[in-house]
Symmetry: C2
Subunit: 238 residues, 2 copies
Amino acid sequence: MFSQPAVRTDPIRYPVSTRTAPPAQSRASDDLSRGVNPLTRAMQMMGTAMSFPRNTEIFGENEPADYVYQVISGSVRTYKILNDGRRQVAGFYLPGDIFGLEFAEGHTFSAEAIADTKAILVKRSALMALATGNATISRELLAITGRELRRVQDHVLLLVKSAQERVVTFLLEMAERARAGITVELPMSRQDIADYLGLTIETVSRTLTGLESAAAIEVPTSRRIVLRNRSALRQLNG
Amino acid sequence: MFSQPAVRTDPIRYPVSTRTAPPAQSRASDDLSRGVNPLTRAMQMMGTAMSFPRNTEIFGENEPADYVYQVISGSVRTYKILNDGRRQVAGFYLPGDIFGLEFAEGHTFSAEAIADTKAILVKRSALMALATGNATISRELLAITGRELRRVQDHVLLLVKSAQERVVTFLLEMAERARAGITVELPMSRQDIADYLGLTIETVSRTLTGLESAAAIEVPTSRRIVLRNRSALRQLNG
DNA sequence: CGATGCGTTGATAACTTTCAAATTTAGTGG
DNA sequence: CCACTAAATTTGAAAGTTATCAACGCATCG
């Protein structure tokens, strides 16, 4: 232990002027508004859209958790650097997903844009104030937190599986979340996947190769996975 | 995979008459009331105390989540049986802890008493109704869920560590939660610990023996651990 | 065209599990 | 309270899985 290199990602810090004090940019009330819940609607009313280039930090661990975020386009990873220098990815957030909501002062994890990403920011205090007078919003906040809880619980269940089961579960989950057909476009690198699954990139790579040999998937490019045999995959997912 | 025996614990089902429709037993408003938060006070006002003998089921996975529970005395494990028959323990709950709060219809996990346990039950619907008209209770519910979220996030971070780190982290956490001095009384078996840490009982046992050899702990009885060298343990905990 | 980053593949080492058996502890009936 | 039985825990040896170290291929970008 205490063995690995300190850092493997290189988050290019976005210029501070743009990162803090979100400027009043475009109101975002476009595609994501279709028949959504009251909270999403409220966020889009109250929020400010902001862009984050690929690999830039959105917020850092322990920074004041003053804003709540919703992904409009692109994708986001949250993570923590462990004492031994390894990085643990806590979650991936795709368009429509809400992240960064905290109940303590500071953020539990850091967040970075995986690809060029647009997100809506809403002041947490504003959201909390809104919730105080509005039982619907209040319930919705509780529901979001409940879903996040469920997601993390599933992450726990993932981490006790074998390497192959972890990779398969990940692929099936990404396919479902991205509402993909049989072809999944992965926004994240092998390193991101490995750090989410608690594996090394070599193991992830070898497992994908193995699944391809078994005709369960195809990997035409490293970021594109074709699910050739979903029922076989479901068998393998533990 | 798909290899292990189906069951390793043998939950003796408590007689149905006692398990369902909580009878109006003793009001529980004793030791735990000392300067606690409004939600705990509310639960103790509204709730019904109920006893669960060791190894009995408190609720089962997917059963309607109609009640929220607070441990008075004893301790509780929540868990899920995985497809391959292994059991994953999701969490341990000690006196004062709240468990069983859900945001969907059914329970995510099963819950069992580890030792003879007394708990307060409150109808979830009553709690939710109370929260609707009371911003303080509402915030408190959100805070509880936030703490549970944090706990599960920590569990994720635990599961990517080495076996020794997992065991050490577990011991330090239990010592803190039980407000123990240097001697920790573990309410749960090696199997419970192993299933929580994602290890086998053999690995847990060997690791404890190793820590004892390294003079970091003593194990006078299997359920009693003396933390002989906390700073050494903190070094080892990753 | 060379540098650079990302992904894959191979060989070996480290760690954890599995299988087996011994030992200790706890529970039960007399 | 003691003896007996079952359950829990510990220990050992071997096998299996994943990590580590190293090298190579491929694509991108200046």
